[in-house]
Structures are given as structure tokens and as C-alpha cells.
């Protein structure tokens, strides 16, 4: 039988929009994922078209967000007074201010939206300012956790650098007991991935989330880029970006079914031999109450090596 292995995996993709290319503007969307200290996080920022350094703003906003999510997760998830959230926000803003000063420019030229989700143990936190959307996947399908903030007109939204950014900042938190994945999308992507009049998420999102169940992260990220470029680019002039965070769960039958490339990525193995050893240890550990020394004898690896594999696998059970 065996216990299921489960871990959060992320994949991200960005493509430059046709209007940006035509206007000679660089891509101003940024997205990244990070896994550190038990926190799995993704963040996405869409630089304002008119802001000359918004690509820089998006970079800084993402990096600071991922740093703070890693070191402040516990405080943020427990925050009742809003004080931790305020510190988080201030931290992002002051890094943006420093970056603006270093580039000898005004803060407003770094304007961007910001979206993020972080998961640790059974809890999640998410935040959103501006347009774009945060989607979550549950048993019944995908729905929207956070809608875009829009002004009355098509090209109006709030940015992290806007005067009212703090009051417009939306926070979410909860447990991930019934959530299997999150996705962040910029407005450009949402144009093809969310139906505004029906209020439903496109089946494409479920499909791409499912890719993480069977393929290594690097392949999924590259495939996302290829698909965004082939399918979404001609439907919108805007930059398109997408970040996904999915809990990939495998029982022993599914482990046996997966490709070596997937398993090396999923089980953090750097070589086929490393993978072979880890799988051998896993197989024996599926029996209850087996000691490391016993495993060591059965798989012909040192006890120290077995303990190392065991430590890794225990995080996934």
C-alpha cells in the first residue's frame, strides 16, 4: 500500500505582448516561485505600461515579496491586528523606493501590480493589489480567489506604488485542506483564461495545473511559455504571465508510473543513481516501523545515506 508522497511544486511563464513590442517596450510582467524554509510561494507583478521603469519595479516587488513571505509567513498567517501585513507592505514599498533612488527616478516610474500566494504546512496566505487574478483549484474545479481591481475604464487599475495601494491591498488566508493548487495570472493572460460574463475559469487552467502531476517543473514552465506564445499572444496586445503552485500527490502505484525525469525533479535527485537509491529506500520504508539500520542492510547503503533519504521522504509524507 504505502503512504502517499505530497509536495507543492511551482511553474511560471512570461511572454512579451505585441503592443509592447510594437511600442519598443520591454516585457514588463515578472513572475517567480520560491521554496525555502518550509514555505512554498509564487509571486507575479505586471509593470504599468506607461511607467518607464516598471520592469525594474516588478523585479523588486517580486523579490521582496518572496523574501518576506519566507521569513514572515508565520506572523502573516496569524496576524489579527494587521501589523504584520503593514510591515510586509512597507518592506516592499521601501525596497521600491530604494531602487527608484538608485536609478535616479521617481517611485511612480516603478509602478506595477502585485499578486502572491504562499503555502506552509496546511495554511496559505495570499495578497493582491491591482488587476490580474488569483485562482484556486479544489475538488469541484477552479474558481477565483481574488478578482482584478479595475477603475471604470479598460486601462485603469491600482498599483503597489499608488497612493491608495495600502487601502486597496487585499489579503486572504486559510487552510489548504481542500485546495490542490493556486494560479496567478496577469490581465493579459486572464483575457483568455477567465470568462468575464460567465464568471468561470477556462478549462485550460485545470489542464496546465495537471501537467505538474506528470512532468518536471522545467518542462512545464517551458511548455507554458510555448503555449502562451502560440495561443494567447494573438488575442491580446498585453504581456501575458502565469504562475502555478500545485500540491502534487503520488501513491506508490503512481510513483511507479512516473518517468525518471519527473521523479528526479520531484524527489530532488541530482543523478539517476541518486534516484535509484531514494526509490529503493522508499520501497522499504513503505513497510511500517522499519529502522534505518534495517533499511541500510536491505538496500546496501550506509545508514547515514539511508537517514538522509528518510529525512527527505518524511517531509513528503
Amino acid at each position: 500500500m504505502g503512504r502517499a508522497l505530497s509536495r507543492w511544486r511551482s511553474a511560471t511563464a512570461v511572454i512579451v505582448g505585441r503592443s509592447h513590442e510594437r511600442a519598443g517596450l520591454p516585457c514588463q510582467d515578472r513572475t517567480a516561485g520560491r521554496q525555502s524554509r518550509g514555505v512554498n510561494a509564487i509571486a507575479l507583478a505586471d509593470g504599468a505600461g506607461s511607467a518607464s521603469c516598471s520592469g525594474l519595479g516588478a523585479d523588486v516587488a517580486i523579490e521582496t515579496t518572496l523574501d518576506r513571505l519566507t521569513d514572515m509567513f508565520d506572523e502573516l498567517v496569524a496576524d489579527e491586528s494587521g501589523e504584520a501585513r503593514r510591515r510586509f507592505f512597507q518592506s516592499v514599498l521601501s525596497r521600491l523606493e530604494s531602487a527608484a533612488a538608485a536609478a535616479a527616478t521617481d517611485l511612480r516610474t516603478l509602478a506595477c501590480t502585485l499578486l502572491f500566494v504562499a503555502v506552509k504546512d496546511r495554511k496559505f496566505i495570499a495578497g493582491h493589489v491591482g488587476d490580474g487574478m488569483i485562482v484556486r483549484a479544489r475538488a469541484l474545479g477552479c474558481d477565483v480567489l481574488s478578482q482584478p481591481q479595475r477603475g471604470e475604464f479598460a486601462n485603469e487599475t491600482v498599483f503597489i506604488t499608488s497612493r491608495d495601494a495600502w487601502t486597496q491591498f487585499r489579503w486572504y488566508r486559510g487552510t489548504v485542506d481542500d485546495i490542490t493548487a493556486f494560479a496567478l495570472m496577469s490581465d493579459g493572460s486572464a483575457a483568455s483564461l477567465y470568462s468575464r460574463d460567465r464568471g468561470t475559469v477556462a478549462s485550460a487552467v485545470t489542464t496546465v495545473l495537471g501537467w505538474l502531476d506528470e512532468h518536471p517543473v522545467s518542462k512545464v514552465s517551458q511548455s507554458l511559455v510555448d503555449n502562451l506564445r502560440d495561443l494567447l499572444r494573438d488575442r491580446t496586445g498585453d504581456d501575458c504571465s502565469l504562475a502555478m503552485l500545485r500540491r502534487v500527490t503520488l501513491d506508490s502505484e503512481q510513483v511507479a508510473d512516473r518517468s525518471a525525469a519527473f521523479l528526479m525533479d520531484f524527489l530532488d535527485c541530482r543523478s539517476p543513481l541518486g534516484l535509484k537509491n531514494r526509490l529503493a529506500v522508499l520501497k522499504v520504508l513503505e513497510e511500517e516501523g522499519v529502522s534505518s539500520s534495517s533499511v541500510s542492510k536491505r538496500v546496501d547503503l550506509s545508514e547515514r545515506t539511508v537517514r538522509r533519504h528518510r529525512q527527505f521522504l518524511e517531509q513528503l509524507w
Partner: protein, 224 residues
């Protein structure tokens, strides 16, 4: 075995293109008779054709036409420009500019409500107001409405004066942020070509930007 991970088009959704609503509010009073109204007709036809042939603007632009000559009437309501034809104008009567602008504003409000109900995005609407004379009705209510909307950044209004007899000060009252311009002679065609390019630029604009107008192009039709 390297499998290609591909989405199918059917897995994506179509959302309606963000609309650019433009209302032409045009003086067709008796003084516009003869060459002016002929040139106006030609210019508006140029406008419709240019938008219909523009790859992106044809899905985004929506044009309503109001005339004020004798009475203020709606000649064309907002709708898909690919299904519209340029209306034909004839000149007669006085110049009920107040009623004309009021009607244009009413049409815009109604259309914005329809967009909101249908979940369709739209850009800031435009009113193009063209006249060759003085109003023969009260413009106070209309001026109040346009001034408020412009100050709230909910409307852009282009007031354009035609010929020698136009009262530019009256036109200026409708538009607190943009001074009225005088058309070069009867150069409607150049103006409407510029206008169609401007609408096209908005429909291709990058979200988060305000669309700068083609200032150089204005020299092609306005007396500066």
C-alpha cells in the same frame, strides 16, 4: 519519450474586446448648407470606412452620431461598426447645441450601462463636437454635465470650430481641459482620418497607460 504539452484553442475563453465609444455630435444647421455639409458627409464616411478596415479598431470602436440642425436627433446609435453605415446629413434649421450635446451624453451613459451589464470593458468615451456657429438653445445644462465628467476624467471632448462664424468661446465652455480647435477650411476628411487613427491607437493601447494623442497629426487639419 518527450511528449509535447499543448493546449487546444477550445480550452481557452473569448472575452469581448474592450470598446472605444465615440459620439460624433455635429452641427447640421442651415448655415452648414452647400459645401460644408458635403465635406462633412465625405469626412464621416472616411471615418467609418477607416475604422471598419482597421484590424483591431473594427472590433473595438463604437460610433454614435447625433446631429443638431433644427432639432437634435440621433442618427446612429452605438453598435458594432462592422454593421453600420455612415449616415447622410442635410442642413436645415437652427443650432440646438445644448440639446445635441445632452443627447450625446445620454447615449453614452446608456451604452456604458449596457457594457457594465454585459461585462464588457470600455475605454474613456469621446465626444467630438463640431459647429460652425452659435447655439440657438441653452447650453448651460450640457456644459455642466460635460465639465463635471471631464473634471472627473470620465470623458474626453474634442470641440472643433468650423468657418468664420463660429463662437470659440462657447465651444471652450464644454471642455475645461482641452481648448477648442478650428478646422482648416473644410478639411473634414483630414480631421476624420486623424480621428480614426486616434481611435485605433486607443484600441491597441497597453493597459495602465493613458493614450497620448498624435499632436503632430493635429497640424494636418487644425488651424494652430
Amino acid at each position: 519519450m518527450s511528449e509535447e504539452l499543448k493546449l487546444r484553442r477550445e480550452e481557452l475563453v473569448e472575452n469581448p474586446t474592450a470598446r472605444v465609444p465615440v459620439c460624433l455630435c455635429l452641427d447640421t444647421s442651415s448655415s452648414m448648407g452647400g459645401e460644408p455639409i458635403e465635406e462633412l458627409n465625405r469626412g464621416v464616411e472616411v471615418f467609418f470606412n477607416a475604422l471598419q478596415q482597421d484590424e483591431i479598431a473594427r472590433y473595438a470602436a463604437e460610433v454614435a452620431v447625433v446631429q443638431f440642425g433644427g432639432r437634435a436627433t440621433k442618427l446612429t446609435d452605438f453598435g458594432a461598426i462592422t454593421r453600420q453605415e455612415a449616415p447622410i446629413f442635410t442642413a436645415s434649421g437652427g443650432t440646438p447645441m445644448g440639446a445635441g450635446v445632452g443627447l450625446a451624453l445620454d447615449l453614452l451613459e446608456a451604452r456604458k450601462k449596457e457594457y457594465s451589464q454585459a461585462g464588457i470593458d470600455y475605454y474613456q468615451p469621446w465626444i467630438v463636437l463640431m459647429t460652425d456657429g452659435q447655439p440657438t438653445d441653452s447650453i448651460e445644462a450640457a456644459v455642466q454635465r460635460t465639465t463635471l465628467l471631464v473634471e472627473q476624467r470620465k470623458l474626453t471632448i474634442f470641440p472643433i470650430g468650423i468657418g468664420e462664424g463660429v463662437d470659440m468661446e462657447v465651444l471652450a465652455r464644454f471642455s475645461p481641459k482641452r481648448a477648442p480647435l478650428r478646422l482648416q477650411g473644410l478639411n473634414f476628411a483630414s480631421f476624420f482620418e486623424w480621428l480614426s487613427r486616434s481611435v485605433s491607437r486607443v484600441s491597441q493601447s497597453i493597459p495602465g497607460t493613458t493614450v497620448p494623442l498624435d499632436q503632430e497629426g493635429i497640424k494636418g487639419w487644425a488651424e494652430l
